[in-house]
């Protein structure tokens, strides 16, 4: 019984504090973009080395916390530069990120960039906003500022 409680406790703590970021293949992201969902999908591509990405991150966290009609996914492309994900886990923990964080575990960007968005040349920050029910999309490859994200979301609603 005691063991059971301990397990429950560990489980709860983990879900409250820092979920671990999952290593994913591009297919997981394609599902987010293509599978019908009640929520607007906001998929942001970032890396720990990308200063403008880190600057705009609070905008995504705010949308995640205040808009139940939106699902935010923060996709790290760090492994392209450094194959060790430790830096990403540390960053997510330090920033106490609440949005779902994925670590893209793909090798050749010339292959996976097109699978996500044909008009994207691969520069980050980049953000894809999809209404999976209507197929309406917005894609931007630049740093967002206060108010930009809400506007891009509303445009696909």
């Amino acid at each position: 019984m005691r063991l059971f409680l301990v397990i429950i406790l560990i489980f709860c703590t983990q879900s409250i504090f820092g979920q671990t970021s999952k290593l994913v293949k591009v297919g997981v992201l394609k599902d987010l973009i293509e599978k019908k969902s009640d929520q607007i999908q906001v998929i942001n591509f970032w890396a720990t080395w990308c200063a403008p990405c880190i600057k705009e991150m609070p905008l995504f966290e705010k949308v995640h916390e205040t808009r139940p009609d939106v699902q935010v996914s923060l996709v790290s492309v760090d492994l392209n530069l450094d194959p060790n994900p430790a830096k990403i886990h540390k960053f997510v923990e330090r920033k106490k990120l609440k949005s779902t964080v994925y670590i893209l575990d793909e090798r050749d960007p010339n292959v996976w960039i097109d699978e996500i968005e044909k008009s994207w040349e691969g520069a980050i920050p980049a953000t894809l906003i999809v209404n999976t029910k209507t197929g309406k999309k917005n894609f931007v490859s630049k740093e967002l500022h206060e108010g930009d994200l809400e506007k891009l979301i509303d445009e696909v609603k």
Binding site: W49, P83, R107, N110, E121, I124, K142
Partner: protein
């Protein structure tokens, strides 16, 4: 008639919905430019009289991906300048937005890295717009006649240990061998261009 109006409307909507395509595509002919080099002198591609073609790379001081590729860019020039394809780097970033990419910092960076090739500044960002560059680093291989022969990445991994395809080198080797470029357009992870605040 109704059908025609509908068609025109639909065409109009389509055009409005498609983001405008800026810059060069493979096969286009580029326009030469004259930009200030880190030595203070203005340089045009036409000034490089012995070149058979050009490896134009939009690059900067501050982007961590550019930094990771720096030695590979130096190596590209070392290998291909003597074969007629020199590297010309252009910094597209606005120093107001990215202070680390100011002209003075460029001069210091080129000196520190012993650049043996031009490092030009695109102050108005007009050349960057004409090319349609979006990333640093972003490679454009041009013929002597300025025909765009290749656009994209240096290779397929910023982590040098994981490189399996050297896209730019393959393109250059094919050109030097008198062949067409097999993969003339590639993509890579990079930094966005730091545009002037409008």
């Amino acid at each position: 008639m109704k059908r025609l109006i509908f068609f025109l409307l639909a065409a109009g909507l389509l055009t409005a919905a498609t983001p405008e395509k800026n810059g060069y595509e493979v096969g286009d002919t580029a326009t030469d430019f004259k930009l200030k080099n880190v030595d203070g002198k203005k340089l045009a591609l036409a000034d490089l009289k012995d070149a058979k073609g050009y490896i134009v790379i939009f690059d900067c001081n501050t982007c961590p991906i550019s930094q990771a590729y720096n030695s590979r860019i130096i190596a590209l020039n070392k290998k291909y300048a003597s074969q007629g394809y020199p590297v010309i780097t252009i910094n597209p970033n606005d120093p107001g937005v990215s202070p680390g990419d100011s002209f003075d910092k460029m001069v210091a960076y080129a000196k520190k890295k012993d650049y043996t090739f031009p490092y030009l500044v695109d102050e108005t960002q007009e050349v960057t717009k004409a090319f349609g560059a979006t990333n640093t680093p972003h490679v454009y291989i041009l013929s002597k006649e300025l025909k765009v022969l290749y656009i994209g990445a240096i290779d397929n991994s910023t982590d040098e240990n994981a490189v399996t395809k050297k896209y730019a080198e393959s393109a250059l080797d094919e050109l030097l061998g008198g062949k067409a470029v097999a993969t003339p357009k590639t993509k890579a992870v990079g930094c966005t261009i730091k545009w002037k605040n409008s």
